[in-house]
């Protein structure tokens, strides 16, 4: 073969260059299109959720405010004196006794009284809701609806409000909130982290750094890989059998005599957290193994070279440089756990509770379960609060991730510059 001629003549080379360029352009286009498609679907998703969070609601009151105090169309306009009067005269005697027992009417704040009157006397009810887009474009439909329903009125509202976050569960969508579910989710995720992180990282360190390359260990690694692909509901069944049933004395708290109520049996936060822990364990193990694999052997060798033991090498040299990758994997795994519904439903998470979890042996519900519950109901307003809860869940995820990423970067930076 004689030099350049093996690559063909000048025009062959030019033709080949053109083909290569065209090829590159085509692939580039494919990549751009797929990115655009992904962004489009993401936008659609966000829009469709946010669309349900804001918009018109047409309400009707059981007793209109003007029937309570003449010429005042809203409880917000009532004076203090009027509020107290209405509360004392219109509340049913049972409710009044309970309310007075909690805190005497005279000592309650204006806002408190207004809520009382709204809830127990005026009793607004949602007739129909419109999404954000429809609220903008179908005003006529809203007016026509109001005209057809005497006594009804429209209000443009956001379903996601501070009181939605801090209120507990209620059958009335106007008053229902996510506090209990939010606390449940936070408790669960804490247990999941405390269980899955040390166990997962420990197992990965063993498998990657200590385990010999035997047939058994190879099979083990392969199976961990497969486990990460098992549908989450299977983990629910496993959790039900192991944590809820077999380990009931432990997971119900009976062993520690610290359970808050004995109706939960094993269906407690520990069981839920451990079940989700099992679910994310393979993910954390695989991720950590990959992180450890990415650490060059030369680093280990240099540590051994100055007389470090295996453990010192891992602890002082290998882990510090892989810590950000390990934590990134953990964050992703926990995000997945935060959004899981099926396994928790299988192990018997409560679907309607308004008692906040008080510890790891409490009954619980979580945000995704709450969302699932609400979105399964036919009445319009539930769809809106489900959307509001979804947005809350996403905000929680973002918050959790940014806190985690921030801590991760701080740890990584400290480890890198440690002197």
């Amino acid at each position: 073969m004689s030099g350049m001629h093996a690559f063909g003549k000048a025009q062959d080379i030019a033709a080949l260059m053109n083909r290569r360029r065209a090829n590159a352009v085509a692939w580039n286009l494919v990549f751009i299109l797929s990115t655009a498609l992904a962004v489009l679907f993401l936008l659609l998703l966000v829009c469709s959720i946010v669309d349900s969070v804001f918009g018109y609601a047409v309400l009707t009151d059981e007793i209109e405010p003007s029937a309570l105090v003449p010429a005042k169309s809203s409880v917000g306009d009532f004076s203090r004196q009027e509020l107290e009067e209405v509360a004392l005269t219109r509340l049913s005697s049972g409710v009044l006794r309970r309310v007075e027992h909690e805190k005497p009417i005279a000592q309650r704040s204006d806002k408190d009284l207004r809520d009382l009157v709204e809830h127990y006397v005026v009793k607004p009810k949602v007739l129909r809701t419109w999404g954000f887009w429809d609220s903008l474009t179908k005003r006529a439909e809203v007016s026509a609806f109001i005209a057809r329903n005497p006594g009804s009125y429209a209000s443009f509202r956001s379903w996601l409000t501070p009181s939605f976050i801090v209120s507990d569960q209620s059958a009335d969508p106007l008053r229902a909130g996510i506090r209990t579910a939010l606390l449940g989710s936070l408790w669960i995720i804490m247990i999941t982290f405390l269980f899955a992180f040390p166990v997962g990282v420990g197992a990965a360190i063993y498998l990657q750094e200590y385990a010999l390359d035997t047939r058994l260990n190879r099979i083990l690694k392969l199976n961990i890989f497969n486990l990460s692909a098992v549908p989450s509901i299977i983990y629910g069944l496993l959790g039900l059998a192991v944590f809820v049933r077999a380990m009931e004395p432990f997971t119900s708290g009976a062993l520690f005599r610290s359970f808050t109520d004995n109706t939960a049996n094993g269906r407690t936060i520990v069981s839920g957290g451990l079940t989700l822990g099992l679910l994310v364990l393979p993910i954390i193990i695989i991720n950590t193994q990959e992180a450890l694999k990415a650490v060059p052997d030369s680093l280990r060798m240099s540590a051994y070279g100055v007389g470090a033991t295996k453990w010192q090498t891992i602890w002082y040299q290998v882990l510090p440089v892989s810590v950000d990758r390990i934590l990134t994997g953990t964050i992703l795994a926990l995000s997945r756990a935060l959004g899981e519904t099926a396994p928790l439903v299988v192990i018997g998470a409560s679907t309607f509770i308004s008692v906040d979890p008080s510890g790891i042996f409490s009954k619980f519900t979580t945000l995704p379960i709450q969302i699932y519950q609400w979105s399964a109901r036919p009445q319009g307003a539930y769809r809106n609060i489900a959307a509001a809860a979804i947005v809350s869940l996403m905000i929680l995820l973002l918050l959790m991730n940014s806190v985690a990423i921030h801590t991760r970067d701080k740890i990584a930076k400290k480890k890198r510059l440690e002197s």
Partner: protein, 275 residues
């Protein structure tokens, strides 16, 4: 031993108290090393003299690194590697059951072909090895002494807190030498320590080796004939047989090996005919 400030607790396997001039500190006897089924080195037998520089030369793949790593039991870390024969260190078998390889690696330090400082500060690079080995003295003093011995102090004294990876390749390699010195080994193994460096940095490493020879026993692998002749007192020439198994072809005082080689292959190799 040397004028080092370190007061590391030395667990001597049996160091000689009065040092005769040509005492073998390491004795390789019928060393055979396998990687799985592959016989990498066969029947290597020779002595390494205390406070001398011994060079390993030979064509690529003849097992120089393999033999070097077997001297501080670094080969233990390679899966599938197996060693037969004996290596005596101060007359004690390095591969005896009760010997802890971690301790061996502290007493027989290693500098690698590619500079591989820890991704930490310069100070920590040197202090870490001493700390994990229980050094109780003044770390700042240790760092300064070690860096001075490695001829790096003047260049880095103002940036000890800086990450070591920001040093140049040559500086990194000298830092690796300083880090090895800091744990006060008796022997320093160097696997092509200058192969990634420019001629000036290489020159400094060579000066450094001649300097360190007063305090340490040094074994250096090199592909550079000039380097071997400049720095070493003894040279071991390795070759491969037809099954690609490495063996020791010739071992002699460096001057003799280069001026008056006993084997044809040695002569061919050092005159650049192959390899």
């Amino acid at each position: 031993m040397n004028n080092h400030p370190a007061a590391l607790a030395l667990h001597h396997l049996g160091a000689a108290t009065d040092v005769p001039k040509e005492r073998p500190i390491l004795q390789l006897q019928q060393v055979n090393i396998h990687y799985g089924q592959f016989h990498a080195v066969k029947d290597a037998t020779f002595d390494i003299l205390e406070k001398h520089v011994t060079a390993f030369i030979g064509p690529s793949g003849c097992g120089k690194s393999t033999v070097l790593r077997s001297i501080n039991r670094m080969n233990d870390m390679i899966r599938g590697s197996r060693m037969e024969g004996k290596i005596l260190f101060n007359d004690h078998d390095l591969y005896a059951d009760q010997v802890d390889p971690v301790l061996i690696r502290r007493r027989i330090g290693m500098v690698f072909q590619k500079p591989n400082p820890f991704p930490k500060s310069i100070h920590e690079n040197i202090a870490w090895g001493a700390r994990i080995n229980g050094y109780k003295g003044d770390f700042d003093e240790l760092v300064e002494q070690s860096l001075r011995q490695a001829a790096l102090w003047d260049e880095v004294k103002d940036k000890l807190k800086q990450n070591a990876l920001r040093l140049s390749g040559g500086q990194q390699q000298r830092l690796c030498i300083a880090r090895t010195i800091a744990v006060q080994p008796e022997v320093i193994l160097m696997d092509e320590p200058a192969s990634a460096l420019d001629p000036i940095a290489t020159g400094r490493i060579e000066e450094l080796i001649l300097e360190l020879k007063n305090s340490y026993t040094i074994v250096i692998v090199t592909h550079n004939m000039g380097q071997a002749s400049r720095v070493s007192d003894h040279t071991a020439f390795f070759m491969v047989d037809e099954k690609r198994t490495g063996y020791l072809q010739e071992y002699a005082p460096t001057e003799q090996l280069f001026l008056n080689p006993q084997h044809k292959k040695t002569e061919q190799y050092i005159s650049g005919k192959f390899g």
